[in-house]
Each structure stands twice: as C-alpha cells, then as structure tokens.
Assembly symmetry: C3
Amino acid sequence: MLKNGNITGFRRNLKLNDVGNQMYQLISELYPICRSITGNGFRESLKVIKKSIPLEIHEVPSGTQVFDWTVPKEWNIKDAYIKNLKGEKIVDFQESNLHVVSYSVQIRKKISLAALKEHLFTIPDYPDWIPYRTSYYKENWGFCLSHNQFLQMQDEEYEVCIDSSLEDGHLTYGEYYLGGESSDEILISCHACHPSLCNDNLSGISLATLLAKYLSQLSLRYSYRFIYIPGTIGSIAWLALNEHQVGRIKHGLVLTCVGDPGKSTYKKSRRGDAEVDKAAIHVLKHSAQDHEIIDFFPYGYDERQYCSPGFNLAVGCLMRSQHGQFPEYHTSADNLDLVQPPYLGDSFSKCLSILHVLENNKIYLNQNPKCETQLGKRGLYKAIGGQKDSGLNQMAILWVMNLSDGSHTLLDIAQRSGMAFDVIKNAADALLEADLLRCC
Amino acid sequence: MLKNGNITGFRRNLKLNDVGNQMYQLISELYPICRSITGNGFRESLKVIKKSIPLEIHEVPSGTQVFDWTVPKEWNIKDAYIKNLKGEKIVDFQESNLHVVSYSVQIRKKISLAALKEHLFTIPDYPDWIPYRTSYYKENWGFCLSHNQFLQMQDEEYEVCIDSSLEDGHLTYGEYYLGGESSDEILISCHACHPSLCNDNLSGISLATLLAKYLSQLSLRYSYRFIYIPGTIGSIAWLALNEHQVGRIKHGLVLTCVGDPGKSTYKKSRRGDAEVDKAAIHVLKHSAQDHEIIDFFPYGYDERQYCSPGFNLAVGCLMRSQHGQFPEYHTSADNLDLVQPPYLGDSFSKCLSILHVLENNKIYLNQNPKCETQLGKRGLYKAIGGQKDSGLNQMAILWVMNLSDGSHTLLDIAQRSGMAFDVIKNAADALLEADLLRCC
Amino acid sequence: MLKNGNITGFRRNLKLNDVGNQMYQLISELYPICRSITGNGFRESLKVIKKSIPLEIHEVPSGTQVFDWTVPKEWNIKDAYIKNLKGEKIVDFQESNLHVVSYSVQIRKKISLAALKEHLFTIPDYPDWIPYRTSYYKENWGFCLSHNQFLQMQDEEYEVCIDSSLEDGHLTYGEYYLGGESSDEILISCHACHPSLCNDNLSGISLATLLAKYLSQLSLRYSYRFIYIPGTIGSIAWLALNEHQVGRIKHGLVLTCVGDPGKSTYKKSRRGDAEVDKAAIHVLKHSAQDHEIIDFFPYGYDERQYCSPGFNLAVGCLMRSQHGQFPEYHTSADNLDLVQPPYLGDSFSKCLSILHVLENNKIYLNQNPKCETQLGKRGLYKAIGGQKDSGLNQMAILWVMNLSDGSHTLLDIAQRSGMAFDVIKNAADALLEADLLRCC
C-alpha cells in the first residue's frame, strides 16, 4: 500500500464523526457473537475484524504451560435454556448469550427450583439487567437472568439444558504488526473475550481496529503491534510466547471502556513516569475536558500482566468510565445504548493524540546555542520591536530554541512552557525548516 | 527464659488497659524520688526499674571528659527549707522536691527578703504551681515556690537551709541489652534526671520499662538497647563511652511526655526519611487519631545528641504534648493527675506498632515475577470471576506480588498502596506460606 | 582607594533615603538624552555614569559578526518634526525623543495624511501617551504621537523631516570591573538603549551605578563586573567578545524596572535552582513585603542571552513591575513621575541583600561534630536551664552547629531552619569567633 502521509496530516484532516460511526458499526456487528476466552465465538470475532485489517490468527493448544498458568480447554456452546413444566423456555441462550455462565459444562436434567437456585445469578439492585458471570478455572454450570425473571419462577421442577463442550482445543488470539521506520514498538492491546458487552470489550476492539486501519496507511516512526486477546490468560500466553521480543516494546496502551459517556481516564503504567504516561497526561490535560489521571494499581485489565514486576513494561490503560466503576459494568446494560459514536470518536481522537505525541516526541539540537538566533532575518520574528502582543507561536519558537540542548524532548518543552504539544511541534517544524534545529 | 512468640502475636493479645495501669503504677512508685543528673535519687530510681528488668548500672566518675563536656560533681541533698521569724517552715523540701533548685550548693544562713528574692523562682501566670529549675553548670542555690506562697512572705528576715553536697562522685546510668536474631540494634532512650515530674520524665521511663519487660519474652529480629540516662550529659557520656558500637544502631526512639491527654507527636530524625521515620509516620497516620508529625530541629531532648552531625543516627522522638508546649511543663502540675493510664497505654500501643513495623519490614521476592501468579489454584483468589466486590486482602495480595521485586519493603508497599502495614503483612504471610514469596 | 569595611557593615549603616535620592538624581540627569542601541546618546549616557564610577568604554565596529548577529550601523539624530500647512510643528522631536521611531532613516518630504498614517503610531487606549517604537533591523521611518494629537490632524499635506544618519560606526558599551578576593565573578547587567524611559532602562542603570560606587569602597569576596549595554545586541556582542572568560561568572543579575511602585519580582535563571536564585528568593521571602517569584521563560531582557542553552549562566532578573506588564511600559508615561526614590531605595536594599547572601554564603565545619558543644562554658548558652524562653539567636546557634557538616551552606541552614539569613550568619560569626566553626 502506498503510504500517503504521516500521523500529523492524518490527524489534521480527521473527521471524528465518521470515525465514531465506523467504530459503532463494528461494535454492532460484533455484539451478537458469544465470545469467551476460547472457542469459535472468539474466532468469529477475529474474522469480522479481519475485514478491516490483515490480522494474523494464532492458536495456542490447550494444556500449553504459560508461566504459572495452563491454557485451558476450549469451550463452545450451541444452545442453553431453562424450561418450566409447561415446556416454556423461561431462560433462553438464543435471546442473550449472557444467560449462560461462561465455561458452563454440559448439562441436561430435571431439577427442583431449590437445587436450581444454586446455579442462578441475578442483580437484585437492577432487577431488569442480566449479570455476566464466568467460571473458567472451576468446572461448574449456571444461568444468569434478570431478578424480575427470577421472581416469577414457581416452585416446580425445571428442565435445564446447556449444550456446550469443554475439550482440548486452542486458545485463539489475533495479532497485527505494522512496521515503521524503527523496530521499536508501540503495543496496543485489547481483550476480546466478553460476550455481548459493548463498553467493556467491544469499544476497545473497535478503537484498536480503526486505529490499525488508519495507521496502516501512514508513514510511521514506530512499529505498532495490535493484539486481540482473551483477558488475563491471553496476555499471559502472549507474553510467554513472545518473551524474547518484549524488549522492543517502548510504549503501550491497553484500550477498554472507551465508548461510554464518562470522562476520559488514564491509568498510569507501573513506572508512573514513562513517556507514554507523560504523553497521555499531557493530552488529557490539554483536552479542555474533565478527565482523570489515576496511579497504577495491580488490578483492572491486562496492564496487570504487562506491568508485572518481571516485565514492568511502559503500558498504561486508556478508558472512559473505569473497570467496575459504572453500574452497567458486567451486565446486559453494557449494550449498544451505553456506547455512542461521539464518545467513541472522542476516545479515538485522544488515543491518536497520544500516539501523535509519541511519534513526534524527539530531541532536537539548537544549531546556534550561544545567544538567541536572529529570528528576524529569517522571517520568524516581528520586524518592529516594542509592540505589546507577542504571539503564542513566537513564544513557542523561543522555548524550543532555548530548551533544545540535547536533554529536552518536545514534550518536556511543552510541559515546562505550559504550552500544548502541537504548538511546540509547529514551532520545531518551522525551525527545522529554517535549519535552526537538527535532529539529535 | 523461654521465648514464647513474636511481636505480632504479642501485639494481637495485648491488653492495653493492663499495660496502661502497670505504667501508671511504676510512675507512682518513682514519683516521690528526688532525682537529678547525678546522685542517689537517680540510683534509687534505677533500683525500682530493676524490679521489672535486669538493668545494668553504670557509674561514670566526675571529671571524666566526654567529648566537649566534663562529667560534673555528684549532687546529693538531705533537706532544705525556708523558715520565717516564727520558725515556721514556709518552704519545705520534704513537701516537694521541686522546692529546691537542682544542684543548689549547701547554704544555711539568715537573709533579708530583699536578698532572698534573687534566689526565689515562681510562675506568676500559674500562681499555685511550683516551677522546676536547675543550675547544673554554674554553682548557685535557690528555691522554687508557688507565686501565692511568695506573695504571703513578709518583709522580714528568713532562715534558709539547703543541706546538700556537691562532691566528686559519679554520673549513674542504667542500660538493658536484649539480644535478638541480628546484632543490628534498636535504641530506646529515656531521660531519668527530673525529680517529681510525671509526663516529662517518668512517662518515658515507664514506657521503656514495660516495653523492655514484654519484649524480653519474645523472639526478636533486632537486638534492643534500653538506656536510662540523665538528659544531655547522660546521652553525651553514653555516646562517648560507646562510640565504637554506635554503628550497630539502625533505628532509635527517644521516649518522653507520653502520658498526657495531648495528641501523639513524632519528631523526625535529622535524616528525615529514615526507616524509623517512615514507620512512625505510617503508624500515626493509620491510627485514626489526630496526631502531629514534626521535622527535626536541634532542640528538645536527647535526640539532639544522637542527631548531632558527627553521629546523625536514625533516632526520632515519640511524644504526646511536646517539649515546652504544655502549660504544666517543668512545673509541679506535671504530676500524677496529668498522666493517665489510657494515654500511657495508647502510647505503648503506638510505640509497639512502630517496633512491629521495623521488626517485620522486610523485602521479599515474588517467585513468579513474570505475569501474575495463578492465585486461584492455590485458594488465594475467588473461583467465580466477574463479581464486583474484591476484598481488601485480595488487593493486598496483588500489591505485594506486584511490588515484591527486590526494591520495595513491606512498608514501601503499604505506602504506595495506601493500605495499612498489617494488611500488607498478612498478605505477605499468606504468600510466604504458599511459597510464592521468598525472603530477600 | 582604601577599602574600609565589608558588605555586612555597609549594609548595616546604609541610609536608604539617601541612596534612593541619589538614584533618582542620576535618572533625572539621564532622562533627557536620546539613547538608542548605538550612537552618541548612548555615549553621552556613559559619560554621565562615568562621573560616579571609572567606566571603561568599548566600541564595537558596525558589521562585526557576533554569533548569529551583525553589529548594525550607528544611528544618530539631530532633529525631527511634522509640520502642518501653516508651518506649525505639530510633532516635535525637541519636545520628546519618543516622537521618532528609533533607527528611523533620514527623510524630508511633503506627504498626504493618508500616506503619512502608515508611519504614525499611537495608543488609542491611553490617548495622552506617546508610544515607544523601534525599527532596528528593517530600514524604515516613523513618528510616535499621542492619540489625541493624532485625532487633531486635518486631512491636508504635511511636511515630515527626520534629520538622522545611519552609517558605519560603532556599538558602544560600558564596563566596570571590580576585583575581589576571588576571581569568581558576579555579573550585573543593565540595558541602556532606551531614550526617555525611566523604569525600563534608567532605574536599572541607576541601581547598577550606585551599587558599583558603594561596593568599590568595600572588601569583597567576589569580583564584580558591571556592564551597560544596548539590549539584546549588546549582551550578544559582549558574550561573543568575552566568551573566553564567561566561565568566571558564578552568579548574575539583570537589573531593570526597579523604580516603580509595583511589588518586587525575581525571575529565576534558566537553571532554576542556582545559588543566586535561592539567595534572591530567600531575600524576597524574608522581606515581609508582597513579592513575586517567577520561573525562567525565554523572553524579557538580556537574561535571554545569558541563559541561552550554549551559556546557561546562573543569571536571574530583578524587577518590580515586570517587562510588558505595566500600562506605562514603553510609553511616555514611563517618566520621572513613575519612578520614585523610596522604590528605588527599596530595590537597592534588596539587591544589596542578595549580594550580601552570596558574599557570605559559605560552608562551615562544626569542630565538635559529635554531640553538642557545651555552649554554656563559652558564654553562648543560658546559665540557668529549664526556662521557657529560648531566644532566637540560640536556636540559630544550634542550627548552625547541627548542620555545619560540610554539606550545608549558611543559606541551606537558613532555609531548613526557616530563619533569616542574617540571623544564621550572626550565629555563625559568633561560633567562628569562639573557634567552634572552621571555614570549609
């Protein structure tokens, strides 16, 4: 493919509405699929993504040892229901794949309400919502249903059926590598193991996919690696299988929960002051929107693995509402109403801005470090001195010249001057053009 | 003696009421004795303490050069009074040993009120209280009395008598060494040179003594050295005589003013960020009580000597109301009413908690540093994922695993996670038990 | 000249009223002269200064290359006016030298109001004030006038005359070197290129000159270099010509805008934590007056050149109202009413205090670092202990002894103790006197 431009130009011409709508479109297509940490639902989802980007599909056999963990058996499901005495399906997997506890083993039997109750999960506080439950590492079965459904169940015998299989197979993940000028990599990671949940799962997938699609058309400084993995076991498996090349990852972002109306949140890497942390904080601070910066803590999403002490990668997490902090979290209310194109587009824009900073965050050398350069004779200074208004860009030019001493990146200059990265970058571009700066 | 447990277990079963009462009991027994920086009152006090712990008594001869100072002559006193013309003792040492300026030389003579006034000390602002005064390094004599007593004195001739001696003798101090696993020491220092003053003197003595008594029954990581010294000249003498082994002192606390109703105060060591400073600050911050942390300054108690630049030991000072900051300070109102068992017990508890942190503040190594350990298969994680409530201990477990990289102590982990040291320690204990951590 | 004392004694006996009046007197004498970055006005100004101090005058030929800049042609002016049809001079250089744009080329012609307007500058917001404008690096001509004058101009033909010359000549600057004990230098720099502007220009000149005059009578630790230069091109030329000896400059101050009623302002050097920064901040904080400390930014006065990355000198800027931040800035209202002797004297005092700190900011070594020194036997401690009031000086003595470990300057001690430098210095002097400190 002909590379037609860089991230700066792309960003300038970006139509956020269009991107937000494309993200929402992809989410809508993926929504009905019943994903889990293994199985055909995961594969089917990767196939949908592959329509946008040339994803490589990897299959890791069940039983593979990955650090302290073992790749589990593969789980697949065809159908599931609870029938009452009249033969009516009062809970039906075909209506919502959340109705079955993920990794439920096969079952078909008659059972009293009392015995069945131990396998039923509801949310009394939100009686219309179906909870999302899993039992990956302990063989079990169960149904999730709304509390109102549950309250209508009579004290009678029920027929329960879960037509699932749990057998040796594979853990599947998708990977897309996009080569750049340098072999240093930026890792973009999203989990794709949740069934019909939009914000927690599909929003991150859609952001990663649209990013990958558009970045693939650009000339890039860094190489990018996008991975679509089941949460926890997926990132552990990926790290175990790719341990030899993890050193190339210079920056990384876990993307999740980026489509809801909540304010943007950045959770720092374990290092706390990595370049990606500074870039993300800068972008959110200059977004003129309410936002939140939170310190790393060893819970949440796959940053837990990337930031484990044996790796300690510079990987942060970009979200809107946080893991477990919004009521719709892990319920059927995390649906196509919760995520909306404007929020998705805004998250795309912020993520792109973070990457824009990383792509352009270079160190330059002032070619005339002793005293100021005479900017006037190069058309970079006002001809008539003594006037009161000195434009913003002129200050940026002075800042870039003053701090381009080999020890300040453009982001450092932006931070010290209090100016936006873009304003500093524009100044640096003008100075490079005039041969007053040299790349370090 | 059979060592029956460690500090953690002792702390768990501690009955603070009992300890507070024992401390108050000891204070009551020591209260009537007329102590000074040398002399038999000091010796008698050590004898009382020796009933609780096997104190070694040291005698340093008068005239011994200790750094820039010289051990003074020994002072002893039998009696002292002021008689009026009628022969009535209007000021009587037998009623309060504060009535005589400490180190007053022998005197017996008739004297006019005018001449006597130059040797009388009162506190006009607190007319019922007797002040406490000393004249260690300049030979002099004087009486302290309540301002009301003073106002009743007629303009007549008085007979003054101070039956004291100031002769070559010794400076006495007590020391108790308690060996632990390591020869690294924790120094506990208290001054014992004030006569009938409870908070400023006896409370610190009682805290040190009860601590020593109980710690002696436990298996300890550190060795402990308890010293009972006269203020200033005592710590100077001790440091001069023990200079060769001062390097073993890794942490230390000066204990004083720990029995009054004021809030707990910790004065940092000169280093400011020593481990004992962090431990004390952590304990006070997690005490759920009002407290105060103050920076080191070169005034106060014996921390002045331990923190002189030539030693710069990691010694802080634990108090309630501060040196010179409560009205009863250095007056007869610093008596058995000012200190109370509940405050004494609370100070004991905080001091013990600080030692508990120091005893247990180790660095551990996560044995599976690459990605998270699978806690579930070891019974350390909930079997069913996806639930909202993740218990506090589980977060502690994750924090300990994430930060046990060889560069974080448990206290560092507590600080970074915002959790209490005990919660972090419990998590570490569980992980050690499961062989997931190794001691560094 | 016989050196009769040091800066401490001079400062103690200083009569600020007298100094303020002398500064105002010098400003008044310099005010009428038409200065620019080159030319006879600049030379005439240096001659006036030379009456106070033995200034060396340097002449740098036009065309000399100084780093990225070229010394411009020399500009001189005899007269200038705008005449109306009646032959009345409606704008007259003889009334105010601000009426002509500095560096205006020679012109004499008839011109319509419409054409003339492109060469006229006013300040509509302050209709009575004449603006100050320059066109150093682009050949042009123009007049500045009050907006009210401008509004009265009829739509008629005018005669404009600027009798100026712009020819090869010299850039002139003045320099005064005052040798001290050490060859390490303190640089005092002020710009002297503005015509009749008092605060922005003459106040800095007067402060530098009076400082130089008085310091020349004292025994000094540092050598001092006072330079009177045209702004920007002057400091660039000076740095280019003196590059080999710039390493001697240990501290420096740019002095400007020090005569108006605004609060004192210190702009930090690019380093931000240089000794001169700490000294200036300390002096302003302990001045008991409102003040402002601002971070370095690459705009303002000649600190821009001293703090360019190739030099990065420890040069800050002392002002009252800041560059461009007061309405009178670069207008005819920056006149003999705006600056007043009390503000000038106060700025002198603060500048002197900063130099006082630098002159005396030494590191001492406690000669008895182990435990406290017995101050009592040396008359440095109260004889009777136990009293509540411990004077300020006694705490200063304890602080100096405690921190004089070879790694704290007196200013460090002042900062950590929260006490004023003078109080700390007095304590150190007493301790030096008693042989308890030694110079490091």
